[in-house]
Symmetry: C2
Amino acid sequence: MQLSKRCEYALRALIDLGLAHAAGRSHVPLPELAAHENLPARFLEQILQELRARGWVGSRRGQAGGYALEAHAEAISIGDVVRHFEGPLAPIRCASVTAYERCSCPDEEHCGLRLLMVEARAAISRVLDAQTLADVVAVTRRTRRRAGLDLPFLPPEGDA
Amino acid sequence: MQLSKRCEYALRALIDLGLAHAAGRSHVPLPELAAHENLPARFLEQILQELRARGWVGSRRGQAGGYALEAHAEAISIGDVVRHFEGPLAPIRCASVTAYERCSCPDEEHCGLRLLMVEARAAISRVLDAQTLADVVAVTRRTRRRAGLDLPFLPPEGDA
DNA sequence: ATAATCCCTATTGGAGAAGTCGGGATTGAC
DNA sequence: GTCAATCCCGACTTCTCCAATAGGGATTAT
């Protein structure tokens, strides 16, 4: 049930951009993101391009360029990000809501396995589809603040 | 979040063996299992060997041989079967209970993503770890009976 | 002009998924 | 004792995807 690194890094990058936005920062350059998250820059770049193509992230070139959230953080559901990188949430296709596919078993309708997996998929969806990027960003900010830590991605002297 | 075919077939085979047991059948030969589930026999065989090695399934050779449940169906949790084939239930390692691993992010403790994934893993576990093979078999039998269908894997004339 | 940035395409190395195949060892029935 | 059905074991293949690396082009603030 593991997520791919692509998906994990994508989520981490989105959260960072959300944090940056919340901190009043506009664009964050790739090197800074990669350094902050300890990720290979070139690989992360690929992923950010994918997020851009998908419309979740915007970019600006040249000096003072970088990446920023394009969509509203409240409009990005974690479930959808996962779906984009991993496909359907359901463990087996015949239990999927968004990508149902008939399975090869003799009696799908009365299959106990399918019924169980429908429950599993519902449980996953209840967590991942209910939470938006904004929620995750908010939790991160709150817990960090409670611990007395300062927030990352502060603007570098007068940033619009 | 998809399960591999290996894992799916393993679960289907286990359920079949559970149904057979419940129907008073002792051993079911591979060809019958494969035909009933529409699965490639040779591949399914591999999987059954794996289930046998793990102690969930027993076998008998020669004529009137085949496979049968070795463990009690109530003792086989679906979550454990999934874990055996797919690894930890948690979407990311730093959210795993049974296979925790530190992640490369700068502040794991206050990471909103991790907290979310801990919830996701809990939700999955609540479904898959709570259900045993016996439960799934029972559901299958019940729903089939309600629909007026007869149960599969009946003993072939006086089977011990 | 220049340095920092994003943008695009290709390639690689390795692992794992999903099977396939050939042949050996047991066992029950006749 | 033979025979057919069955399990047992290990190798092999084919394909896809993952995770990452690499090279070089376009854009933009200073």
